[in-house]
């Protein structure tokens, strides 16, 4: 994950400080204070990069688990999987927990870790485009998708993945949102609000109509649950995460350009509508993957809260992306710990942890930590 946006770098820390050195040299300005600040900045940047590197390693480990679990029936992989289970039991023994021996916990944890990366990553663009509510809307569209899948499955006897249905309807919802935005020249809150409540209404009607024909727990979908994550859902999240991270890495510059200055991006002949569509479709994808753990109602929070926290203290957009991911990851891990130890819903725990970090970031920002660089 450390390289998610590096591929399209415009001002990586090394280059930025190098260039600043050069400009100082030409300006022949005194470098006392700025020199000290730069040292401090470099330390901060190093810490962030180390953090992102660790998150990347954690994500790679979780993706490794998903693959291991998926192919556990295969020779050699079976052996490796057995070793993994033993290591989980040992870890539980050492920590005195009852978590790591259960494959379903690993599924939830891996889904959570990946959410903690992709949701803030996509959210960094959404929040600064003032499209924060899109996530909420698409979560409700995905909820309608779940209901449609349930009804479809019970009527046809087909055993398709409910999440795939949610993904299809979520992406469809994203395309409708984009279509509306293109027609009205804005992401107006009225069409968004209508779509949000409309899809939720459709979902509740369908689920009520189909009640009794399925043992699907609607509460776990609404509020999120560690236990609701299925092997299918984990694999889907793993796949979608890789796709989203690659898509952002490849299109970082375009997404940044349309985020901060859509008109100038149009004048520069960027296909703005295409990138807008990419952004809302990625949002739908993240929302569907994330709603297993976070629940329909809370899923949008992970797109917004870590980014809001990071924006309080970050000194550049790049740093906002890095810090959002770090905040997202910290919230997921802390939320999981609280959820498991106190038997509370994972979604609520994670979101409260994120909001706690957000409040702390406001405090840090007010106390002048960022004022060092911003005067």
């Amino acid at each position: 994950m450390a390289t998610d946006t590096d591929a399209s770098d415009t001002s990586d820390p090394g280059d930025a400080s190098g260039a600043a050195d050069a400009s100082d040299a030409t300006d022949q300005r005194p470098t006392g204070l700025s020199g000290r600040l730069r040292t401090r900045n470099t330390a901060r940047e190093t810490a962030e990069l180390v953090g992102i590197g660790l998150v990347g390693l954690l994500a790679a480990f979780m993706l490794g688990f998903i693959l291991l679990y998926w192919f556990r029936e295969f020779p050699y992989v079976e052996l490796l999987y057995t070793e993994f289970r033993i290591a989980g039991r040992l870890l539980d023994g050492v920590l005195g927990t009852n978590v790591f021996k259960h494959p379903f916990m690993w599924q939830s944890l891996s889904t959570g870790v990946l959410i903690g990366i992709v949701a803030p990553l996509v959210g960094s663009f959404l929040v600064h485009r003032q499209m924060a509510l899109i996530g909420e809307t698409l979560a409700h569209a995905a909820f309608a998708g779940v209901a449609i899948s349930l009804v479809f499955n019970s009527l046809t006897g087909w055993d398709g993945s409910i999440l795939v249905g949610a993904l299809v309807i979520g992406v469809l919802g994203a395309l409708i949102v984009q279509w509306l935005a293109d027609r009205t020249d804005t992401y107006g809150d009225v069409p968004i609000a209508i779509m949000l409540s409309g899809s939720f209404a459709l979902g509740t009607l369908l689920i009520s109509a189909g009640r009794g024909q399925t043992n699907f727990s609607i509460e776990s979908l609404l509020y999120g649950s560690i236990a609701v994550v299925t092997p299918d859902g984990t694999r889907l999240m793993g796949l979608l995460s890789v796709v989203v991270v690659l898509a952002v890495a490849v299109n970082y510059k375009q997404l940044l350009f349309i985020t901060f200055d859509e008109q100038a991006a149009r004048v520069a002949q960027l296909p703005v509508d295409r990138y807008n569509t990419l952004l809302v479709v990625m949002t739908a994808v993240v929302v569907v993957g994330a709603m297993q753990v976070l629940g329909v109602i809370l899923v949008a929070a992970m797109l917004v809260v870590p980014v809001a926290a990071a924006s309080q203290v970050a000194r550049s957009f790049r740093e906002t992306v890095y810090l959002s991911i770090l905040v997202g990851q910290a919230a997921v891990l802390a939320g999981f710990a609280v959820s498991v130890s106190l038997s509370l819903p994972a979604g609520g725990s994670i979101v409260m942890a994120a909001i706690g970090i957000y409040l702390a970031a406001i405090g840090l920002s007010k106390s002048g930590v960022t004022a060092i660089s911003t005067h």
């Binding site: 399209s8 770098d9 415009t10 260039a19 400009s23 008109q263 520069a268 924006s311 906002t320 911003t374």
Partner: protein
């Protein structure tokens, strides 16, 4: 950046020919024709709601005309692809949300994006960004967040973005709204310097005095074109009174 003299015999940078545009039923631009020669400094004036911003949008390809054609650097605006040749400073540039976590350097670097959408910046790209920051005298602000600059500094950052993109044309829509008088003078001096280097400038500005001081040519519109010619002929004409009044006749059009 080519020089003004090299451009003198070239085709118009922008050619607006019989262009009309309406929002729904309400006509905003009616049969306007203007050619903008390379190296010109065109001031676009007219009362509020006269269609100045819409005309600028049409000129840079942000909107498609209902009738007539717009050519950019000789190509139909709909086929035009060299986006980096136009530096565009939006109307809300000085009032953009203060919370934006974007550094000046990140903003200026966007000027290079049309040239390098994929892959890392080359040394030349970094150099272009540094040079642009130096040229508008904000190198020391490079790592500041854009939302925390003053209006005048922010405006310079947008100009630096256009310089970094090596734009031949600079289109500015009321760039000094919210900028203090001293910074505004310095900003217009910067535009003069860029124009002297051969960059064509189109400027929308509500302060007629500033426009007549700075621009070499004036287009005065109020849905229709009331005047297009050099600044002296505009000052001598009744175009301004006509455009701001009720009269609808074209007084001057000397291109």
């Amino acid at each position: 950046m080519t020089t003004a003299s090299a451009h003198r015999t070239a085709d118009p940078i922008i050619s607006v020919d019989g262009v009309s545009f309406a929002y729904g039923e309400r006509p905003v631009i009616d049969a306007v024709s203007i050619d903008i020669e390379p190296g010109a400094f065109l001031g676009l004036v007219g009362p509020n709601g006269s269609g100045k911003s819409t005309l600028l949008d049409l000129m840079v390809g942000l909107r498609e005309p209902d009738a007539g054609t717009v050519r950019l650097f000789g190509e139909l605006a709909s086929d035009f692809e060299d986006g980096e040749r136009i530096g565009y400073v939006p109307q809300n540039a000085t009032t953009a949300a203060r919370g934006l976590p974007l550094t000046v350097r990140e903003l200026v670097a966007m000027g290079r994006y049309p040239r390098r959408l994929v892959g890392r910046f080359s040394d030349a790209d970094h150099q272009a960004v540094d040079d642009a920051l130096q040229q508008v005298d904000i190198a020391e602000l490079a790592d500041r967040r854009i939302g925390r600059l003053s209006g005048g500094q922010r405006q310079r950052a947008y100009i630096a973005r256009a310089i970094a993109s090596e734009a031949d044309l600079l289109a500015l829509d009321e760039p000094t709204v919210g900028v203090d008088a001293e910074s505004r003078d310095a900003f217009y001096q910067l535009l003069d310097d860029l124009n002297a280097e051969g960059i064509t400038i189109i400027l929308i500005e509500h302060d007629i005095g500033v426009v007549t001081d700075r621009a070499s040519r004036i287009a005065c519109i109020n849905t229709e074109l009331f005047h297009h010619g050099d600044t002296e002929s505009f000052v001598d004409s009744d175009a301004l009174a006509d455009a701001y009044g009720v009269s609808g006749r074209v007084v001057h059009h000397d291109h």
